[in-house]
Symmetry: C2
Subunit: 197 residues, 2 copies
């Protein structure tokens, strides 16, 4: 049977069936139980993760021990500390599984081979990076400019599925507010007859 990653490559990265058979033995999938680390601060990140099933998060922990979630990754999303991976530096960040998760461990060998046999894959890879940048810029713009309520509304329209799967305190951590504040924001929205969740 064809894996989620394989269909994804065919659909989005222009990888053909014969190319896929060349790549198949380089595709390594790993299962993580809820709470398990895919990447730990201090390690050098060696992989890009493609989430086939489950849900993972990318976050930092500050001096006071508080977690700050940079990104969530549900099915068919990529996740990695690109800085650490590309520049071979030890990571400042953590990645762990929010649910039981299976992820494809994409390493340099895979990327190199895929780029070699498919120019489309190379193009696609750039697309991923460009899109990632666009995402991060919008997020910065929003963190600078919007109130807690606006940020939460943005979140539930952008990630309606995540709103249900992710515990509330993690959403708060993503938005840069406390769980208590998020609870109050939701209370206010409920009073305004808002039913987005």
């Amino acid at each position: 049977m064809e894996s989620a990653f394989e269909s994804y490559l065919k659909k989005n990265a222009g990888i053909t069936e014969p190319q896929l058979s060349q790549l198949k033995n380089k595709i390594i999938t790993k299962a993580f139980t809820k709470g398990e680390f895919l990447l730990h601060k201090g390690q050098v990140c060696r992989h890009s993760f493609f989430i086939e099933k489950g849900l993972a998060r990318f976050y930092s922990i500050d001096r006071e021990g508080k977690e700050h979630i940079i990104q969530f990754a549900p099915e068919n999303w990529f996740l990695s500390d690109r800085g650490s991976l590309f520049f071979n530096e030890s990571s400042e960040f953590f990645i762990d599984a929010i649910e039981d998760t299976t992820a494809v461990m994409i390493d340099e060998h895979f990327n190199h081979l895929a780029s070699e046999i498919s120019p489309q894959f190379r193009k696609y890879n750039e697309r991923i990076l460009q899109n990632h940048i666009r995402h991060l810029q919008k997020r910065i713009s929003q963190l600078i400019g919007a109130s807690a309520e606006e940020r939460y509304l943005d979140f539930i329209t952008l990630y309606p599925d995540l709103t249900l799967r992710v515990p509330q305190w993690m959403i708060a951590s993503f938005l840069g507010i406390t769980p208590e504040s998020l609870s109050r924001v939701r209370k206010v929205l409920a009073k305004k007859n808002f039913h987005g969740f």
Copy 2:
């Protein structure tokens, strides 16, 4: 005489002298006076800008008319709305010159040709993107986690040169606080016998 961009390409992107002569007629430089727009909201961004002289900023304006600066770009920095450029969408952002500025207008023709004649350039281009992502992630992590004072201290250690060249109210806009708040932060730091500026 060799332009700043040309030396930059040779030093960082592995472009050789003969390759450079092939590229030379594709390198278009333009001068902007202080306050002039390099990119205006609503336009589709067609260029990546390499700042040879001067200083530019990349920012958004929210519904209330407030500016939020995403990025500064002094000499030898790149600046672009990559989302708009790559995906051909109209931009949400502005780019304008803070000082009189000359910028290289890098378009798709240039990138295509340079990638063609130099595999190193392609590698280098990916490096730029990866580095940009790393930068943005750190910024998000900081916006979520740090106080106004911490953010300002980070700014002056990361961009000591900009601290002097950029008006204070723009630094405030970059940090996501009001000019008044930044003024007070500086006052507190001065009392603590801090002399970073």
